[in-house]
């Protein structure tokens, strides 16, 4: 299997300096777990030294599409479909982070790319599952509280990887040093240049609405020296009222 991994010009949220995006690092790890034989990193924009850091995680060939930053979707779709690298068969998979870090951070680009390529997109994929059918990919979609949804998509497809995925590949500095970062000039014709008119300014933290449920912080019910069974029944009733225990009669799911 051949895979393309989309790389963005991410920044570190604390220092603001160029840094790899966590979702993209995990995308490299997921591609490896899926048994991808050949991986190529694609970046719509000029080459930058920070990109070589992905090489340390195992992505040793990165292609930068200079000039593609004006319409990255078009540039990337063009490259995935027709680039000379894929002359002997196009990629089966395009992997990306669920959210970028440092740009507009909308997470929209993988969806637009899937639309441009007319491929299906599977999102928030944290791990592979047991593969059952050829031409299909069985994946685990990560949900809150450790839950998982099994997803099955037809190849070729776009897959996005969240920060919560645990498939972080080991970093090897020697591999970063031997990483090849190529740059190519491409021309794109942005169709719609209607940029949403808005202004950027430093982020201001605003208070969230206060959750109405947090009234339990102290001064609750107190039972001093109860009979153990009475105490146990009180605990069970309290937990059931909170909704963490299923109702009596219906057995909890295993």
């Amino acid at each position: 299997m051949k895979a393309v991994i989309l790389l963005s010009a991410g920044i570190d949220p604390v220092s603001g300096r160029p840094a790899p995006v966590p979702g993209e690092i995990r995308a490299i790890g997921l591609a490896r777990e899926l048994g991808v034989a050949q991986m190529i990193g694609l970046h719509a924009g000029p080459a930058s030294p920070a990109l070589a850091e992905y090489g340390g995680y195992g992505l040793t060939h990165i292609l930068c599409l200079k000039g593609g930053e004006t319409d990255p979707v078009q540039a990337l779709a063009e490259a995935v479909k027709t680039h000379a690298l894929f002359a002997d068969g196009g990629p089966d998979l395009v992997l990306a982070a669920s959210r970028g870090r440092g740009g507009s951070d909308t997470g929209l680009l993988p969806y637009q790319l899937a639309q441009a390529l007319d491929w299906p997109i599977a999102t928030d994929i944290g791990a592979p599952m047991e593969q059952t059918a050829a031409g299909q990919l069985a994946l685990a979609q990560f949900r809150a509280r450790g839950a998982v949804k099994p997803v099955s998509v037809t190849l070729p497809c776009v897959v996005t990887v969240p920060e919560a995925a645990r498939c972080v590949p080991a970093f090897v500095f020697a591999r970063q040093r031997e990483t090849r970062v190529d740059e190519e000039v491409v021309t794109v014709h942005p169709v719609s240049a209607d940029e949403e008119a808005g202004t950027l300014r430093p982020y201001r933290r605003r208070p969230k609405l206060i959750s109405g449920a947090s009234k339990d912080s102290g001064g609750g019910q107190l039972m001093v020296d109860p009979d153990p069974h009475e105490a146990a029944r009180a605990i069970v009733a309290h937990l059931r009222a909170l909704g963490v225990l299923p109702n009596a009669g219906q057995a909890p799911e295993a």
């Binding site: 920044i11 949220p13 603001g16 870090r101 440092g102 740009g103 951070d105 909308t106 997470g107 969806y111 637009q112 299906p120 997109i121 599977a122 928030d124 949900r143 509280r145 450790g146 839950a147 998982v148 949804k149 099994p150 997803v151 998509v153 037809t154 497809c157 949403e196 202004t199 950027l200 430093p202 982020y203 201001r204 605003r206 969230k208 609405l209 959750s211 947090s214 339990d216 609750g220 019910q221 107190l222 039972m223 020296d225 109860p226 153990p228 069974h229 105490a231 146990a232 029944r233 605990i235 069970v236 309290h238 937990l239 909170l242 909704g243 225990l245 009596a248 009669g249 057995a251 909890p252």
Partner: protein
């Protein structure tokens, strides 16, 4: 002072109170003839009859009662409060539509769904619009309470692209001004699929929503974008209050919506597999039961955790003693929990341990010390020996759920 004092004209006042009775002329002394009465010196006059009339209600047992504290409307069971009909707001000829696509986990509106509906209501009320909820079946009373005016059912398949296709047909029929979704896992995915499919502008994760401008974080959370509203928007949780006003009535939609063209399914999403509580990541676990140094019987502790279907945790002392693995340590130097409920068995509640409970809402403590910090923090505190309570808990749970739960 007025030089000329107003004089009362008793004859005219009497004549104004004359009402036609059956056959005979009568005087209605409770009617104030010409609005508020003023005394000759210009002061307002009290009307004790009218005041008494206003305080009169029918009590629960049908007897007349005077309610003097101004609580007429709140008197439980009083005829006055029974008579007030709940008036629902109807939006009949809307200027425009605002579509809301809630997540509806378990078929009910959740907190973020209500907040999105509150935001939609705000936008709709600014210009006489109607809020249309598009989703799988949900009961209409809760929708009206949350501020919706219309409801369009979706068929709900396992393929997100089919759902998007259905949404697109609804959007084509209604041409809404805005489509709002929660920036939750499912809502975020759906919004981006819609944006890619329709090519409409998307503003995700909005934190401040006004009638003319929105603010959303970007640039790795270091910057924020301020600008106008977009056709597609998703709202970050706990930013916009839910609708608290009067109940809206769900009216049938006049526009007809054709079914979408069925496309070949390229993707299937199965049902959620919840994580196994015994092995799941402590930081993700919704329900944690922890042992402190007050627990000595660890076989009983493990049985209790299994019976409660909880994730095991421990205080540092227990991990240091080797009674529990280090990965279960809760606290400043262990895991910070994101649980809904925490049961602390024999834990004193040192500050380093309580740091790990920052986001936990409900705590149950079992401790022999009435003055432990954990007891002060708990919603339910049991002052008893943990070694006695744990087997009792197992027994109670086994009795309620049968052998399967134990």
């Amino acid at each position: 002072m007025n030089a000329i004092r107003l004089r009362r004209d008793p004859r005219a006042e009497r004549a104004a109170r004359l009402v036609p009775g059956n056959g005979r002329q009568r005087y209605d002394m409770s009617a104030t003839p010409d609005g508020l009465m003023t005394s000759p010196s210009g002061r307002l006059r009290r009307d004790p009859r009218a005041e008494r009339q206003r305080l009169l209600t029918t009590g629960r047992d049908g007897r007349a009662r005077l309610v003097r504290s101004g609580l007429v409307g709140q008197m439980a069971g009083s005829a006055a409060s029974n008579a007030t009909v709940v008036k629902k707001i109807r939006v009949e000829q809307p200027e425009f539509f605002i579509i809301v696509v809630p997540d509806l986990p378990d078929g009910r509106l959740d907190r973020s769904d209500r907040q999105v509906l509150g935001a939609a209501r705000k936008l709709a009320d600014a210009g006489g619009g109607a809020v249309v909820v598009v989703g799988e079946t949900v009961d209409e009373a809760s929708l009206g309470q949350a501020g919706a005016d219309r409801f369009v059912p979706l068929s709900g398949g396992s393929d997100p692209d089919a759902r998007v296709a259905e949404l697109v047909t609804v959007m084509d029929a209604l041409s809404p001004r805005h489509v709002l979704l929660p920036e939750s896992e499912e809502g975020a995915d759906m919004a981006r699929r819609l944006a890619a499919r329709t090519g409409l502008g998307l503003l995700p994760g909005i934190e401040v929503l006004g009638p003319k401008q929105v603010i959303r974080p970007c640039g790795a959370g270091r910057q924020e974008w301020v600008g106008g509203l977009a056709p597609l928007m998703t709202l970050a949780p706990d930013r916009v209050p839910a609708w608290e006003g009067d109940v809206h009535e769900i009216l049938p939609l006049e526009e007809t919506i054709e079914g979408p063209v069925p496309a070949s399914a390229r993707m299937t999403v199965g049902t959620v597999i919840p994580a196994d509580p015994a092995t799941m990541n402590l930081g993700d676990a919704p329900f944690v039961v922890s042992a402190g140094r007050g627990v000595t019987d660890f076989a009983s502790f493990h049985a209790t955790v299994r019976a409660l279907h909880a994730t095991p945790g421990a205080s540092r002392v227990v991990c240091d003693n080797g009674d529990m693995p280090r990965s279960t340590q809760v606290g400043a130097s262990g895991t910070i929990l994101d649980a809904l409920c925490y049961v602390a068995l024999g834990i004193a509640g040192a500050p380093q341990h309580l740091q790990g409970l920052g986001r936990v809402e409900h705590i149950v403590a079992v401790n022999t010390d009435l003055h432990a910090a954990m007891v002060a923090r708990a919603g339910l505190a049991i002052i008893a020996d943990a070694q006695a309570v744990m087997p009792a808990l197992c027994e109670v749970l086994a009795a309620e759920y049968g052998e399967k739960g134990a």
